[in-house]
């Protein structure tokens, strides 16, 4: 399948914080939603910043629409919609003025679509956006991101802080966005239930490094968390061990193929949240099959 975004061996060192992105490699096929999961400071936003050019990468390649990302190429940027964690529009403009501004910036600004979303989200047209609540701000950011012939939507914690109803509303909009298979979404969130609901592919990132990359179906069908005594661990094939941690004199192990486990092992009921926790808190196993 052709990819809308390809990131290969992306490296970036932040000299002021000693944080670094290490060999980030992933791709987003057309029509898919890829979720980046990780705790605060894991490197989700830094990865997106490097893709968007708000920070400069040290090495690696980023290809968008099969072209090397060139931050001087406005045609490439035209087709990327972005929603940051906070709304980034000038506080003193209203919804109508914002449309005026953006219609002079985006060649394919779709005013009709924009006001369709504004009406759908019930946003006031004459109120300054600086007075908007968190939910309204995010809805406005999403309306803008979807209204300029966007092909790739990059969402950085876009659903954080929204109430469950608003979050569901947004997730439905995202699912609708990718349904014709020509558009894709890269979504980062620490709300794993959102990612679980809409993402096709999952990327788990920890301390600037991808620790697991798999499809959601693969994760739900084949992965499992098992609890065992340290002495029993050797019975698990090291090739399927992804991550493990000590918990009350027992070992909790994330495996990538639950079918390969000996019958004596009891598979624990687990959620994406628990897998995330195990990946973030546990030790990464060298023989990982990711």
């Amino acid at each position: 399948m052709e990819n809308i975004l390809e990131v290969e061996n992306l490296n970036k060192i932040y000299s002021d914080s000693h944080f670094e992105l290490k060999d980030i490699t992933f791709s987003i096929p057309y029509g898919s939603i890829v979720g980046i999961i990780g705790e605060n400071g894991a490197g989700k936003t830094s990865t997106m910043a490097a893709i968007l050019g708000t920070s400069k990468k040290d090495s690696g390649t980023i290809k968008i629409f099969n072209q090397e990302m060139d931050y001087l190429n406005n045609k490439l940027k035209e087709r990327i919609g972005v929603v940051f964690e906070q709304m980034n529009f000038s506080n003193n403009v209203n919804v109508v003025q914002l449309s005026n501004v953006l219609s002079h910036i985006y060649q394919k600004w779709d005013k009709e679509k924009y006001f369709h979303y504004i009406d759908t989200f019930s946003l006031p047209k004459k109120e300054k956006v600086g007075n908007f609540s968190r939910g309204m701000s995010m809805k406005l950011s999403i309306a803008v991101a979807l209204s300029h012939n966007t092909k790739l939507l990059i969402l950085d914690e876009a659903t954080a802080g929204l109430d469950p109803k608003a979050r569901n509303e947004m997730l439905d909009v995202f699912l609708d966005f990718v349904k014709d298979k020509n558009q894709s979404i890269l979504l980062s969130s620490h709300i794993t239930s959102d990612i679980e609901k809409i993402a096709d592919e999952l990327i788990f990132i920890k301390k600037g490094e991808i620790v697991l990359q798999t499809s959601k179906n693969e994760l739900l069908d084949n992965f499992a968390i098992v609890q065992c005594k340290p002495t029993e661990w050797k019975q698990i094939d090291s090739n399927v061990t992804v991550s493990y941690r000590n918990k009350e004199h027992m070992l909790e192990v994330l495996v990538s193929d639950k079918h390969s486990l000996p019958a004596s092992f009891q598979i624990k009921e687990y959620s994406l949240d628990e897998i995330t926790l195990l990946l973030m808190e546990g030790d990464h196993h060298e023989g990982t099959n990711s």
């Binding site: 506080n91 501004v101 219609s103």
Partner: protein
């Protein structure tokens, strides 16, 4: 570019309207005083009150996060800087037109205002605010808006320094000639415009390497 400038103007629309109204009232009153000192102040005031709002835009952009958002828009970083400088120039031209039109109307119908002293101080005020802008922009892009008050004070201090150094240099080189004031005003204004051009080039360089 038009969209970026429009956004800049929307950001300070209310403050510019208020400052313009205040400027118009005060300038009319000053000109009607028909006094040399009042005439000088009338030439200065509009540039102190109106174009300075262009510097506030940098602060508002940083607070709202628009400065980060601009980077992902289909515009180059050079265009972003151009839009900031052009917004300043637009407010600057507006200030000039406002004070000039008021002075001209009063000159036509009430009393003479179009003295050389008025033009001298108009040019000097324009030179001073251009010099301040030439310093504020690159320093803010380099040091960040958190330092905006110190940058403004520092720029004002340096600008006054440049002003008095220019006076001193002219006195040394051309001496006390008859039309010294006119010559100084014109030279200071031209020098400030050149200074702004250099500042623009430096700002583009700084901004191209800036990370958000």
């Amino acid at each position: 570019m038009k969209g970026l400038i429009l956004n800049n103007l929307y950001s300070v629309e209310k403050s510019v309207k208020f400052s313009s109204l205040l400027t118009a009232v005060v300038v009319v009153l000053l000109l009607l005083m028909n006094h040399s000192a009042a005439l000088k102040l009338a030439g200065f005031l509009p540039f102190v009150l109106i174009p300075v709002h262009a510097f506030d835009i940098l602060k508002y952009d940083a607070i709202s996060g628009w400065n980060k958002y601009e980077i992902i828009l289909p515009v180059t970083r050079k265009r972003i800087i151009e839009s900031k400088y052009l917004t300043f120039i637009l407010l600057f031209i507006f200030s000039f037109l406002l004070v000039f039109c008021i002075a001209y109307v009063i000159h036509l119908f009430l009393l003479p205002t179009m003295h050389s002293v008025f033009f001298n101080y108009l040019l000097r005020a324009m030179g001073l605010i251009i010099c301040i802008a030439a310093l504020v922009y690159p320093l803010t892009f380099r040091l960040g808006t958190e330092q905006s008050d110190s940058i403004m004070m520092g720029s004002l201090g340096i600008t006054l320094g440049i002003y008095f150094v220019t006076v001193f240099m002219l006195e040394v080189f051309i001496g006390e000639v008859e039309d010294f004031d006119e010559k100084f005003s014109i030279i200071f204004f031209i020098a400030s415009v050149l200074f702004l051009l250099i500042s623009y080039v430096i700002s583009v360089y700084i901004y191209k390497n800036k990370e958000f």
